[in-house]
Symmetry: C2
């Protein structure tokens, strides 16, 4: 059982299921616990009071906390971790949603609640139940069989005083739900962001736009592989594989619904929005992603899709779910969400949004013209196919500085167990800066660097299996090999190639890009200067123009949930964005090879 932590602050709740320190969990759940030292166990600002089974206090906590604090159960967020279900209350002023761009949205929900006093049936008034509602509204409304089935009971329970919830939907109105009595106050919605790894959900009040709760859970499709390709393969090759994957992600969405519905009647959740990459989108709908996974990469549907929650197995009896449109087979509605949240489509100046992951998705442009592409970076940035690579969890080296010797920092200040994506970028940038790796990605043999590096650094260049590698930690042993550098080079080259192809297609130079927005958790952790230092991003771009925007995809989903105008904008953007297949560019190979260079 993965432990589960719920952060509570006033009326906001955020839940996450993962094994990490509370500080890290808070970050992943989109909540910042205060921290000056970045979780290195130095500032003790991340004092918190977890309720529930937690790890034993570390020596660092015994040093930084008083006996009285320890006896009261006060802990350091950067040290303590859940050992079961834990609740963590945070003072409201401390709670900070700063990890994502918060765009003020004027709620303009397509859902409307009306209180109706209907005439009570009598022998001289034999109108059918639904006709009473239509007459009271003064116009026709569509009604589903589900609502009809509940209608007679609810009308009589409310003695013909009812609250009708109406959905404006493709120009006509639908009766979404009926409640006995006056229930005009409660109208909620859920915005989902279905990531390959993590699924996030935000419960909001549709009338005020206020967030009520949030939750993040591991995507229940994990057992079928970590990346979209293995998931798609399973769906294609196994009997009932597609159904299993659909049920798994529906299960995760239902868990999130349960997490968020502490104080809210789930019958009053009337709308949901979903963003995700094309494979997640298809799998959540139960549509085979086979044609997306195989050349020529075609989706079954890209347009936005509106359906009843039950059709995809969600336990929301009265909700419609809007799947935001895909931009292309490899640029999903998550990227559309990023565009909406960052306002790329409305910007007078050119901006670049990049979501770096196994599959890098990026959009470049302004309100004039918007281009998007997908760059298959591979798993290197997540530590995959790197000898000592690992995910960004405890013991992962996440920062490297080379001076007279090598200094390393690890997540949770633990003994190094390996190196994560941001650490790899940092390490490589330092190695390039010190000339250990040349611009073409060759890890120079120690003899060649003799006299050009401090002795302790030079000693770290060692020979292994007739290839050179650079040792970050002797005990436990963690090193970056020539092969690792090649993997990183391919990954970063793919991202940069994508950016350069889009720039070329748009006919602009790097200095015309006014802002680079790094979406996703990874974007927040990357050292911007290191990213420029290995030319992951065009090095002409000043570091101050680069900004992490957190889960902008989820934010875009949330904006669409709150406003019909934004949903219409989303449809227009999806049609307007020009999806560009990288390999179609006439100079693709040339640009790709140039992009492999570690300086440009």
């Amino acid at each position: 059982m993965t432990p589960r932590t719920t952060f509570i602050s006033g009326s906001t709740r955020a839940s996450i299921e993962a094994d990490a320190t509370f500080l890290e969990l808070a970050q992943r759940a989109g909540i910042s616990l205060p921290s000056l030292c970045g979780g290195r166990g130095k500032c003790a600002k991340c004092r918190c009071h977890p309720q529930g089974p937690s790890s034993e206090p570390t020596p660092l906590e015994r040093e930084l906390l008083t006996d009285e604090e320890l006896s009261r159960g006060i802990r350091l967020g950067c040290q303590a971790r859940p050992r079961g279900d834990v609740t963590l209350e945070i003072e409201e002023e401390v709670l900070d949603k700063g990890d994502y761009v918060e765009v003020a949205v004027t709620p303009d929900p397509s859902v409307r609640k009306v209180y109706l006093t209907l005439p009570v049936p009598a022998l001289h008034d034999d109108l059918a139940d639904i006709e009473r509602i239509r007459n009271a509204l003064g116009r026709p409304v569509a009604v589903s069989l589900e609502v009809l089935r509940r209608l007679p009971g609810l009308l009589r329970e409310g003695e013909f005083r009812i609250t009708a919830t109406l959905l404006d939907h493709a120009g006509s109105e639908e009766l979404l739900a009926v409640e006995p009595g006056d229930q005009r106050d409660g109208a909620y919605g859920l915005a989902f962001d279905i990531g390959t790894t993590t699924v996030a959900g935000y419960l909001v009040d549709l009338q005020t736009g206020k967030e009520i709760a949030r939750s993040a859970r591991l995507n229940g499709q994990q057992p079928w592989g970590a990346d979209v390709i293995s998931r798609a393969s399973h769906a294609m090759e196994q009997r009932d594989g597609l159904q299993a994957l659909q049920a798994a992600v529906a299960g995760t969405l239902n868990q999130i619904i349960e997490d968020c519905c502490g104080g809210v009647d789930r019958g009053q959740i009337y709308a949901a929005t979903v963003v995700g990459n094309a494979v997640m989108h298809h799998l959540a709908l139960g549509i085979s992603p086979a044609s997306i996974a195989v050349s020529p990469y075609v989706a079954a549907i890209r347009d936005g899709l509106s359906l009843r929650a039950a059709e995809i197995g969600l336990c929301l009896p009265n909700a419609r779910v809007d799947f935001l449109p895909l931009i292309g087979a490899y640029v999903g509605s998550d990227t559309l969400g990023v565009i909406l949240a960052t306002g790329l489509d409305e910007s007078p100046e050119i901006q670049l949004a990049v979501d770096i992951g196994t599959n890098g998705e990026m959009a470049l442009g302004s309100r004039e013209r918007l281009l998007a592409c997908s760059a298959p970076a591979g798993p290197a940035f997540e530590g995959g196919e790197i000898r000592y690579g690992m995910r960004a969890t405890t013991g992962a080296i996440d920062r490297v500085r080379i001076g007279d010797d090598v200094d390393i920092w690890t997540i949770g200040e633990a003994a190094p167990r390996g190196i994560c994506g941001s650490g790899l970028i940092d390490a490589l940038a330092q190695m390039v800066q010190r000339g250990i790796v040349d611009p073409r990605g060759r890890l120079l043999p120690r003899p060649q660097l003799e006299g050009r590096l401090p002795a302790k650094v030079l000693d770290r260049i060692t020979d292994r299996d007739r290839s050179w590698e650079f040792v970050l930690s002797w005990e436990p042993y963690v090193a970056v090999s020539q092969q690792d550098v090649r993997q990183l080079q391919l990954a970063k080259g793919t991202i940069l190639c994508g950016i350069r192809v889009l720039m070329d297609e748009l006919g602009i130079q790097a200095d015309q890009i006014r802002r680079v927005l790094l979406a996703g958790a990874f974007g927040n952790f990357i050292d911007k200067r290191s990213a420029l230092g290995i030319a992951l991003l065009p090095s002409e771009i000043p570091a101050e123009r680069i900004q992490g925007v957190g889960n902008a995809a989820g934010q875009g989903s949330r904006m669409s949930l709150l406003s019909g105008k934004i949903r219409a904008r989303a449809e227009a953007v999806a049609r307007r964005v020009e999806y560009f297949e990288l390999s179609k560019h006439p100079r693709f190979e040339e640009i790709f090879v140039e992009s492999l260079q570690l300086t440009d």
Copy 2:
């Protein structure tokens, strides 16, 4: 296990599950085996050749059939009965669908099949699957998640040459199904008539209007009572009662689908229509009939309803089901079907259509104005609450003549076991004619009739428990009691009262009614003169104006299935028919009491 008989004639199949003679089964399934003597075992015209376990030949068959015929398995339809699953082939010219009014309908289906050759995806053509179809059609089409889920596989199976089935539906088009290759030929529909006792289904070719197969089965809701009130009570009072009743009738519909789909791919059934009384309608939809069953008798919905077959559990992957509109809480879409089939709504002359059953439903009028009402006749016409009453099965007295003595006829020429509805009407008419029962329904004491009746007839008026009764058969004993006469009087009085109230409301006299159409099986069996003889119908109407029209409700369902124009007509008729609650008439009590008279 109730035995099952399937009649086959050329490409037509009709199935029925019941224990009765083949002649009777054929009639109930809407097929006439030739018979001159009316099934009394006299004409031997109903010779047939059942394949499958059947009853032993009767003495009558041994008399009327040759040894050679008997050894070949030739039987008399009026004598032999199934003992298991039996198939009975009928020469095509013999097959006669004369039991229902057959109205020629020009097929005008709302379903259209189009063969499309779509562009094959390529790297430079990354349109989504559904966009390819929309582009080829040149217009937007709606698509359900179900079709989307199957779309990628089917497009590729057909190598992008496909047949799209489009449904014209509320002004917009929906993509109902996709098939690989050219499949424009196959487009079928099913018309259902859900009766409280029997459910009938007709499979027709939507393009030609030709009937492919038909089947009739007992409504699977039988275990929960014979009439609508006990079914409604079960749905209201038992936990999961509603679901059980819904599942039961869905099960029956699915059996009928299976019966009919011998040579037809059920994936090519795109449309279905349903008629039934309001309780059957609500139960089939899974809507509680509580408010229909209890005063002031209000339906949840009366308007026509279109849904996906799966929503009510039908195994028709690509079909939409149209529930025809109800006229009122006690005048269902079955009566609407009768109106459509008999053309009451288009008739320049005034006509009356009556469906006599536990609940008599009737419509009176012309193209100018149409009134309908429901008359709760009770079960007397089905033999219920009559001491020797029984359903119209073997051994039921179904014809009575009083001359010097009493002559009785029984179904299947068997020894009398009781008396059925048509027999009761016949017996009562004869008793009234001979003065045994006076116009007010009093069975006269024997002494009062002394000298006015032949001795043998007089002897049959016997005293039992201080009340007089009339003996129809001494051995076995079957009689009609004073109490039985009162039950019949109430039943027929209710029907006549309904007719008279509608006449009064319409401001017409009986002689202005140009045609009386008796719908349902019972209507075919009633002796018209006897019905007039007890004033079940206004006695001013000449017998030749009275006509049995068989399952006109099912015929109306079928007409609606074949033609969008007729479906539109059905909606218009349902809105136009004035449902009249009998008790609302200012002289209701007076008319009711007058209607109890056995002559008028």
